[in-house]
């Protein structure tokens, strides 16, 4: 009962947020809708029992990436005026009724085709059975510390590269003429 409620709520928030992101012409608002969408995805993860993934989604995406995006928008000076100095709209319109109509039809056709392909696979798979709130953290930790220890270590190199990259791009450029 509650599982269904949680799933429906999360799915609604995710889809509603995603649609609003596309529909919104204000970048700041789009970012807020994206936050809602990411939040909903965390709920979806929680629905399938992946509690650690859900929390990571909250910490990294809802807390980190959204702030990063907000700061990135502020680098451009926010959304103060939508018209640039040449009198053109900065934020291009996301389409009109005609394009929405055709996009809708295309989406429906594509999803039907994909469903048709997936239907056999889905029917063949038995419904997965999870134990009551099996602690995924311990399993993840064990896997990260044994089988995938190399991936764990390499990811630190990846993070190091990202850290140095972030530092380098932010450095003030050298003055050519003194």
């Amino acid at each position: 009962m509650f599982t269904n409620t949680l799933f429906l709520l999360s799915a609604l928030v995710t889809l509603g947020g995603a649609v609003a992101v596309v529909y919104s012409q204000n970048l700041m608002h789009a970012c807020i809708y994206l936050l809602a969408s990411l939040f909903g995805v965390a709920g979806l993860y929680a629905c399938i029992g992946a509690d650690f993934l859900a929390a990571t989604q909250l910490v990294v995406y809802a807390g980190g990436v959204v702030i990063l995006m907000l700061f990135a928008i502020m680098l451009t000076g926010g959304t103060g005026n939508n018209i640039n100095r040449y009198g053109l709209e900065k934020v291009a319109a996301m389409g009109n009724k005609k394009t929405y109509f055709f996009a809708g039809i295309t989406a429906v056709i594509f999803s039907l085709v994909i469903l048709k392909i997936l239907a056999n696979v889905l029917k063949a798979q038995p419904a997965s059975v999870l134990a009551a709130n099996e602690p995924t953290v311990e399993r993840l930790g064990t896997i990260l510390a044994t089988d995938h220890i190399l991936a764990f270590e390499i990811s630190s190199i990846l993070l190091l590269g990202a850290l140095i990259g972030a530092a380098v791009i932010s450095r003030p450029r050298k003055e050519r003429h003194d």
């Binding site: 009962m1 509650f2 599982t3 269904n4 409620t5 949680l6 709520l9 929680a46 029992g49 650690f52 990571t56 910490v59 990294v60 807390g63 980190g64 990436v65 702030i67 990063l68 700061f71 990135a72 502020m74 680098l75 451009t76 000076g77 926010g78 959304t79 103060g80 005026n81 997965s128 059975v129 999870l130 134990a131 009551a132 709130n133 099996e134 953290v137 311990e138 993840l140 930790g141 064990t142 990260l144 510390a145 220890i149 764990f152 270590e153 990811s155 630190s156 190199i157 993070l159 190091l160 990202a162 850290l163 140095i164 972030a166 530092a167 932010s170 450095r171 003030p172 050298k174 003055e175």
Partner: protein, 141 residues
């Protein structure tokens, strides 16, 4: 019925709903009894009595963005560390603590190397000099 129990998440949903209810309810309650006499002066942004010039939405310094970038890197790092840290005790009890200790140490030291690099290059200084040869922070002392 579902195959597994998600009832533990019930308080989370209830609390989020309650937060919206409390906030929305107090605003709604207020809307019945509070005065509403807007005028142009009231609705201008407060700038200590001066008339505001232009919008506040200006381009912001890139250093905020860099802070956010570094934050995400450490956020991901802690997200990766949490599960490994959670099993450390158990591994230690069955005598595999040494392996895990080495793995955690390597992981952390690689990131420490990153911090040391940024520190040496002056990227962690808030007040930056535009002449890379002169380090403002060191001149302060």
């Amino acid at each position: 019925m579902s195959t597994f129990n998600l009832d533990v998440y019930m308080p989370v949903v209830i609390l989020i709903a309650l937060a919206l209810l409390v906030a929305g309810g107090s605003m709604l309650l207020g809307s019945f009894i509070r005065p509403h006499h807007p005028n142009k002066l009231k609705e201008t942004a407060y700038e200590c009595g001066e008339e505001p010039i232009g919008s506040a939405w200006a381009n912001f310094n890139v250093r905020f963005y860099v802070i956010a970038l570094i934050f995400i890197i450490f956020d991901v790092e802690s997200a990766l560390m949490f599960p490994v840290a959670a099993v450390f005790k158990r591994f230690n009890e069955i005598g595999l603590g040494g392996t895990l200790l080495i793995s955690i140490t390597t992981f952390t030291l690689v990131l420490v190397a990153g911090i040391v690099y940024c520190w040496k290059k002056g990227d962690l200084d808030w007040v930056k000099s535009f002449n890379p040869q002169v380090n403002v922070a060191s001149k302060d002392k």
